[in-house]
């Protein structure tokens, strides 16, 4: 047990002292990994924040029920009855064609248009607030109402929210693809760095093997190097991400102010940071493992 611990401590201290000797190279390596991980990180934060924003808007979808122009008052009453008995409806509001016409004439901008019209073109309308905010349920309700006699058009006001959701879905997929591609790039970067280190330490590896070093002993310091690159790169990515988000927030705050909102991009939480660092460590380990295994195999072939 103590021997085992000794070997690990020794491997870590060896790697750290090598990194201290090449401080600049190590720092640049951290930055490269940081930038690589930072890109999907930024996208994630933006999409995630927009998702939350969409969630708060989407909680009030409305269905506008426009009746046919020639609908008689008794038909209107029948529709009102149906709305009252519909269990999915939270509440509803009736706006008669005359009331709508008055509003149109009052409101600036449309008053000029309204005055040019000879008669009221507007239909009677109900504005319905569904109980559920689930897009599928609301859509089902909208389609049901569309079938009611006397209804010209049942319009779902939350359509733009659906479009935003579709876009966010695309954004999430983009993040996944980007993360996969950059993860692959990271394995290549770390693998190549480790490979170069192996080449410079080739004598040492060969001598160690001749005097009884196991593959594991030879691999160990390189695996630690990969993991440390991952940790350093992950922390660098986190710092960059925090910096970029803070920078974005300066502009986001201005835009939000114009919409009388106090929306801001949230900094990545502990879960996200842990995920970033952990995935960096795993990719680092993977990259160096592949590099060492390949090199060990190659050394063997040369010898025989």
């Amino acid at each position: 047990m103590r021997q085992w611990l000794n070997q690990h401590i020794q491997a870590i201290s060896l790697v750290l002292s090598r990194m201290r000797q090449n401080l600049l190279a190590t720092f640049i390596m951290f930055c490269v990994i940081g930038v690589t991980l930072c890109l999907p990180g930024i996208l994630y934060v933006i999409v995630n924040n927009l998702n939350q924003l969409a969630g708060s808007v989407q909680s009030e979808p409305k269905i506008s029920l426009f009746l046919k122009l020639d609908t008689q008052p008794d038909k209107v009453a029948a529709i009102e009855q149906q709305l009252a008995h519909q269990p999915d409806v939270a509440h509803y509001e009736f706006v008669s064609k005359d009331k709508a016409w008055q509003q149109l004439q009052i409101s600036t901008g449309t008053a000029a248009v309204a005055n040019n019209l000879e008669k009221n073109p507007l239909p009677d309308a109900y504005f319905v607030q569904p109980k559920s905010s689930d897009p599928a349920a609301v859509e089902a309700l909208q389609q049901q109402m569309q079938q009611w006699p006397g209804v010209e058009l049942a319009q779902l006001d939350a359509n733009w929210v659906k479009r935003l959701y579709a876009l966010l879905e695309l954004g999430k997929k983009t993040i996944l693809v980007l993360a996969a591609l950059l993860g692959f790039a990271m394995i290549a970067i770390i693998g190549n760095t480790i490979r170069l280190q192996i080449v410079t330490q080739r004598d040492e590896i060969e001598v160690s093997r001749l005097i009884g070093a196991t593959d594991r002993f030879i691999r160990r310091p390189f695996l630690y190097a990969g993991a440390i690159y991952g940790i350093g790169g992950g922390i660098a990515a986190w710092l960059m991400l925090a910096g970029v988000i803070s920078l974005f927030n300066l502009s986001v705050a201005k835009i939000s102010a114009l919409y009388a909102s106090n929306f801001r991009l949230d900094l990545p939480d502990a879960g996200v940071v842990t995920t970033i660092v952990a995935s960096a460590v795993i990719l680092g380990l993977l990259g160096s493992y592949l590099a060492v295994s390949r090199s060990l195999l190659k050394f063997e072939l040369v010898k025989h």
Partner: protein
């Protein structure tokens, strides 16, 4: 301790380096492998240390068949050996102390335990005052002694030396040979390959004379 039975070794694209070699070296013995260069001395030593595998025949080290070892078991059989190479194979980016400590690190021995044993080994070869020196600053004889210190620091039961006196003048050579005699005195099996048969007599140890890959004669004291 070391037993060869009808061992042949052929490298790809060349004639046989060893042909049907059989001999036995008992535990605690001192053996010289002699012969001209290219006679197969280095190959013989490499087969002992499982650096090469025989094409045919069996190599037994302490009743273990080295030629049949799994790859993963090879590092552990190597730890029984102290290897001294003609070109020293020292690490020139580390100082003397760290060079000698390497076999101990491989065995997971570090710290004060390791330091004690490294200093003891350096003391044995007369390099205790050079522990902080870099190997490149040492003379040829000193580098060879450093290599010996590294070979003995993990107290191996067998010491294999390939041309340990090859590039040294006579004084140094005698000095180094006497070091090997000293290790044999404390029970280590020592095998030395040398092209220089002068100064070796049957009185000092077993002699295996190779000629073109064949064991021509064997002298036992």
């Amino acid at each position: 301790m070391i037993k060869f039975d009808q061992v042949s070794k052929r490298y790809p694209g060349s004639s046989e380096a060893l042909r049907g070699v059989s001999f036995e070296i008992p535990e605690g013995a001192l053996a010289f492998v002699t012969g001209h260069s290219g006679a197969g001395k280095s190959t013989l030593l490499k087969l002992m240390a499982a650096i090469e595998r025989p094409s045919t025949g069996t190599v037994l080290i302490g009743n273990q068949n080295v030629s049949k070892l799994r790859r993963a078991a090879i590092p552990f059989i190597r730890r029984k050996f102290g290897l001294i190479f003609q070109d020293h194979k020292l690490l020139y980016d580390r100082n003397c102390f760290e060079n000698v400590a390497l076999p101990l690190y491989i065995n997971g021995i570090t710290g004060i335990d390791a330091a004690k044993r490294v200093r003891a080994a350096l003391d044995k070869v007369g390099l205790l005052n050079k522990e902080k020196a870099m190997p490149i600053t040492l003379s040829g004889g000193e580098q060879q002694r450093l290599a010996i210190a590294r070979a003995v620091v993990s107290r191996p039961s067998i010491l294999l030396a390939d041309e340990p006196t090859g590039n040294l003048d006579e004084n140094y050579a005698t000095e180094i040979l006497s070091l090997f005699y000293a290790f044999q005195q404390v029970g280590v099996t020592v095998v030395i390959a040398t092209h220089d048969a002068s100064g070796i007599s049957a009185a000092s140890g077993k002699i295996l004379h190779l000629d073109h890959g064949e064991l021509k004669h064997e002298v036992t004291p």
